[in-house]
């Protein structure tokens, strides 16, 4: 048994040419233990998918090393491919004109499964993932949620030792997302079938599923530990959620105030409320913020102290929330 089923050392990946080089990964080193559900948490553009693409042999690193199951993803790509599978959210590989069972049978052949074994597995997976009644439905007629169930079933057909899940619940309704999360946890933990690398930008998903989480931003790993340990480190930092009745105002002044460690904002068009999550060096800072908001004639609806979440860990490390990081990356 390998201690670290996945290992990367100083992984660097750049895109573009001489005058326009973007560094997607900047010296990423992670180790994933066998049987673990490991999460990569970061905003869009942080480098999560780039890591997955390198580990699944779809992309070469610019420098550094990466191993899956003890095999180099560069030099022993085919050995790596024998033990992995990949499921990406928001994507539904397959042929719309074929039925769910036909598609799954086709994908099972990519791993050389004898037809009788494949058909048995397909039957079991469609039952386990609650979509047996759609087994004879053409893929094109499935809803997004059932297409994603089919994708997950496809990813498990070859009994991978290492399953890569790239934003697997992207765009899914709450119930379907919950169903898929529970199934993956059971698969990896209860049945001990394999190791999982999950990328997500849903904090709750990482919190619920992962044994350990690495927080990534701008291609760098900022922290790596269990969700509980990561949150534990914030116990001494006061955090408050402040709801303000405006979605137009510029709140960037809060970030610049003395004693503010980090601040994220979520604007809701439906309610017209902006929720600010502020992390401060001490509680006195919150009264300064309230005064400043009053000065700016912004109506505060509520202020509550909150328990730390993984989002707060990210804010503590980066100084802002995911949404602001994504806005900056897209600017």
């Amino acid at each position: 048994m390998l201690e670290n089923f996945v290992e990367t050392r100083g992984l660097v990946r750049t895109f573009g040419k001489k005058n326009d080089v973007v560094k997607a990964l900047d010296g990423v080193s992670i180790s994933i233990r066998e049987g673990e559900i490991f999460g990569l948490l970061g905003p869009n553009g942080a480098g999560k998918t780039t890591i997955i693409k390198i580990l699944t042999t779809l992309l070469l690193p610019t420098s550094g090393e990466a191993y899956v199951g003890g095999f180099s993803v560069v030099k022993e790509a085919n050995k790596v491919r024998n033990i992995i599978n990949l499921v990406s959210g928001g994507e539904t590989p397959g042929y719309g004109i074929l039925t769910v069972s036909e598609n799954l049978w086709f994908f099972s052949q990519l791993y050389g499964l004898p037809s009788s074994v494949a058909k048995e597995k397909i039957k079991r997976l469609t039952v386990d993932l609650d979509f047996k009644k759609y087994a004879t439905t053409r893929m094109a007629k499935l809803s997004t949620g059932f297409k994603q169930r089919m994708s997950l079933a496809r990813g498990l057909l070859n009994d991978p030792k290492m399953l890569f899940l790239d934003e697997p619940t992207l765009g899914l309704d709450v119930l379907t997302a919950k169903r898929l999360r529970t199934y993956v946890i059971d698969w990896a933990k209860r049945e001990k079938k394999g190791t999982v690398l999950l990328t997500t930008h849903y904090m709750a998903e990482a919190d619920e599923m992962c044994d350990r989480v690495a927080i990534i931003n701008n291609g760098k790993i900022l922290a790596c530990d269990s969700p509980t340990a990561l949150k534990e480190n914030l116990k001494a930092t006061p955090i408050a959620k402040i709801d303000v009745s405006s979605i137009q105002a510029d709140f960037s002044f809060i970030q610049k105030m003395r004693g503010v460690v980090g601040c994220s904002e979520t604007r809701s068009i439906q309610t017209g409320v902006t929720s600010l999550k502020v992390m401060a060096q001490n509680e006195k800072v919150f009264s300064d913020i309230m005064s400043k908001l009053n000065e700016e004639k912004l109506k505060v609806l509520s202020i509550n102290e909150t328990e730390p979440t993984l989002e707060d860990v990210y804010i503590r490390l980066v100084g802002k929330g995911f949404e602001q990081a994504e806005e900056k990356a897209n600017a």
């Binding site: 992309l59 070469l60 491919r81 590989p93 074929l98 036909e102 052949q109 990519l110 791993y111 050389g112």
Partner: protein, 269 residues
């Protein structure tokens, strides 16, 4: 080694199955794919008849129209298929699996061949029934050999083109567009290439379909034998032996380049 061969044969069969099953699940396509080529070749037949060309020309046109179905299949349903596989996310799944990319292409080629043969036979039958083509065939084995070699050479060319689609998107699409009509013209689909000027004949000699069509017409319409078409056979064999390994090398090269440049699974390019 044997396990690997069995795996890749399974993959080829599965991809063939997808192509045949998918291709025939919507029968309205069959009508369009058979009816339109018959219309095109009818125009040429009527023109030759109006010009009082020898009756063999009708046979040339019908054979040309039949073989063109394979060229269209190679270009759009095989080479360009990688473009669609990329857009739908299937290519990523192929590349993550421990299989040869050639096995996927072989499956596509065989599946395309099965589907197109059904259409080609229908076009041929319609041509024979409507235009009373004067066939004169004494060496059916030679005719089959010519047909087989032409098809293998054509699909090998398709595999080579597929490597372009592995990396490029719309650019490869334009390239395929650029090839379609010139190949119709240069390979002499609707007329004998001997009527072309020398430099165009030279250009046409780089297309396997030119030699295949010429050979099949000689055997099937002009009642010639292996002694008359041995050069066509030889050239097609050379095409096959060059194109197949070249397509494997090109696929590997493009895949590595794609992995290096990060363009292998890049969409909407």
């Amino acid at each position: 080694m044997l396990d690997n061969l069995v795996l890749n044969l399974r993959v080829a069969y599965a991809r063939l199955w997808v192509r045949v099953k998918g291709g025939n699940r919507e029968p309205e396509w069959l009508v369009a794919e058979m009816f339109i080529p018959v219309l095109t070749l009818s125009a040429y037949v009527f023109m030759y008849r109006m010009l009082h060309a020898p009756p063999e020309f009708t046979g040339f046109v019908v054979i040309g129209g039949t073989m063109i179905a394979f060229w269209v299949n190679v270009l759009w349903n095989m080479s360009a298929q990688f473009y669609w596989e990329k857009e739908t996310g299937n290519l990523e799944i192929y590349l993550v699996a421990p299989i040869s990319r050639m096995a996927i292409l072989l499956g596509m080629a065989l599946g395309g061949f099965v589907n197109t043969t059904l259409r080609a036979v229908a076009i041929l039958a319609a041509g024979i029934l409507i235009f009373q083509v004067p066939f004169s065939l004494s060496e059916p084995v030679t005719a089959l050999l010519m047909f087989f070699l032409t098809i293998v050479a054509l699909y090998a060319l398709g595999m080579l083109f597929a490597s372009l689609f592995l990396l490029y998107g719309r650019e490869a699409w334009h390239t395929a567009n650029l090839f379609q009509e010139p190949v119709y013209f240069l390979s002499g689909s609707y007329f004998p290439t001997s009527s072309l000027p020398f430099f165009l004949q030279l250009l046409a000699s780089f297309i396997p379909l030119t030699f295949g069509l010429d050979g099949i017409r000689q055997v099937v319409i002009l009642n010639k034998g292996i002694a008359d078409v041995w050069l066509n056979v030889l050239v097609l064999v050379v095409f096959i032996f060059v194109l197949l390994p070249l397509s494997k090398v090109a696929l590997n090269y493009m895949e590595n380049l794609g992995k290096k440049e990060g363009r292998l699974t890049l969409r909407w390019q």
